[in-house]
Point group: C2
């Protein structure tokens, strides 16, 4: 399928429900919201499936599009969902009936009847932008969530996935007259006092391995509780470890309830993060991947350090 064929398929659809992934980020929500708005501009009925884990950060972009309770879709599509296991629980009735998946993860699982996957896109939002260009005008109501999608998945144009096309799309979206300074301020230039304190704690307790090339930061559940951290406070905390000078493999471990640990891995050229995370049952991108494992923080740490050692041959 090419972009024009995806656009043609979308033109044929109606009664469309758009699915996003668990622990929704700006890309899955922004892509879904922009596509939903574009479909509505074509006169179609389209909604997003409510995502129970959405944080206050992204809620404003999704809220206008939530499907009403009990509404029955005719067609189901997904944006930025790599594998069906990353769909939220309330998507269970739809997971075997997804007509079209649009995604940019190299680890995409081809769970839908048809798929459009471009792993060279920094964000799923870049693909959605190309599709929408074929369908309708990029209005401010489309441009704003698309900007959220591409800016969040590139850390505001700083991650190594950023390409000339990412900037070209950003220029096009800003040219629609949207004011991105409020978005940038809220998403990238605001830290709560709780977050500043958590970052200071993580930095003070970081551990270095493999000749100081591997850094491990930990977010114990007790720390979150003690500080009264919200989900928004801990969102993207894994980017902190990746800043430590001299390291090229940054591991962040976050203790979840039920004896589980969420592992985030950010890497430089030497280490393939997807390969590392695959060894513990996860996936993602070359420079940013993740996994959720069972066990204690210490067990998770040992498991992911062993995976890094295996992949790097150290």
């Amino acid at each position: 399928m090419n972009i024009k064929q995806v656009a043609a398929r979308l033109r044929e659809m109606d009664g469309i429900l758009i699915l996003t992934h668990v622990r929704p980020d700006g890309d899955t929500i922004g892509s879904a919201a922009a596509l939903c708005q574009a479909l509505r501009q074509l006169g179609k009925e389209a909604y997003l499936l409510y995502n129970p884990e959405i944080t206050a950060t992204y809620l404003p972009y999704a809220e206008p599009y939530w499907a009403p309770e009990g509404w029955q879709p005719k067609t189901v599509i997904s944006t930025d969902v790599a594998v069906a296991d990353l769909l939220p629980e309330n998507a269970a009735p739809y997971r075997d009936h997804i007509a079209l998946a649009i995604d940019h993860h190299p680890s995409h699982g081809y769970f839908a009847a048809e798929s459009y996957v471009d792993a060279s896109a920094a964000a799923c939002g870049e693909i959605i932008c190309a599709i929408i260009r074929e369908l309708t005008d990029i209005t401010p109501a489309i441009a704003l969530p698309l900007y959220v999608a591409i800016s969040t998945d590139t850390g505001c144009f700083v991650y190594s996935n950023t390409t000339a096309n990412t900037h070209r799309v950003a220029a096009e979206l800003m040219g629609c007259g949207i004011d991105v300074s409020g978005v940038n301020k809220a998403l990238f230039r605001t830290k709560s006092k709780v977050r500043l304190a958590m970052e200071a704690h993580m930095a003070a307790n970081m551990e270095l391995y493999d000749n100081d090339r591997v850094v491990v930061m930990q977010i114990p559940q007790a720390l979150c509780e003690e500080m009264g951290a919200t989900m928004a406070d801990i969102e993207e905390l894994s980017s902190l470890a990746a800043l430590v000078e001299g390291t090229d493999c940054a591991i962040t471990l976050r203790e979840l309830s039920g004896d589980k640990v969420k592992i985030s891995v950010r890497t430089g050229a030497r280490v393939n993060a997807t390969e590392v995370c695959r060894l513990v049952g996860g996936g993602g991108h070359r420079a940013a991947a993740g996994a959720t494992v069972s066990g204690t923080m210490e067990e998770a740490k040992q498991a992911i350090l062993a995976a890094v050692a295996k992949v790097t041959g150290v």
Copy 2:
């Protein structure tokens, strides 16, 4: 003067010395280096005046262009220099003989025989890019320092000065085949352990004023000495205060030697940073300005808080 006229003037020149400002940042160095390279591509003799305060961060971009000791220029120009007082001391012999100043500061002092000032440009590098387009091909040797210029002055496309044109220029530069991921990693995604510790200290000791809308962070000289901080460690530390949730006026005070204090002010829409800094003898942009004052840290703090109160009418 328009861009074409500036380009025409540059074509007439030879034996060109380019001046940068004190405490050189990526924009003054990147703009000067890119312009110097472009002039050399035209077959001209062109150099940068050595800037004694350059840090390791920007040295690689300037080093190939430093003027040899004793070299006598025929023409002198400046990039990103707002007022003549911001020229380094070794520029004293040239300050009354500057043929052309290219700048983007609204507080530009028109100290040169001719000036091209565009305050709508996020970075001086955007202007330089437009000029170079008229002169020669944008080769990778030009594109890389220009990328450094525009990315540093926009905090990597996150500050409110970023426009659609900023992204358009970034797309054009990346399209030249330069690899910006190394630049982004070094400039925006690397923090030394000393810097992480200093940020933690500043965050722990921050003070809030004016119903928590004004935040003050301080960098005492004793802290820098105790931690063995280099200039690179404290570069752009003023961006930390601007992150504190709920504030729209972030003041950072850095104690310099000789009983002086460098004040940095970053503001939201409510507060004009340039107006605030003008009241204590400084200048800059609407959302980011600075000043260097004599006195103790406490005196500097009282002076700048009084200036904020006067400008905001609180």
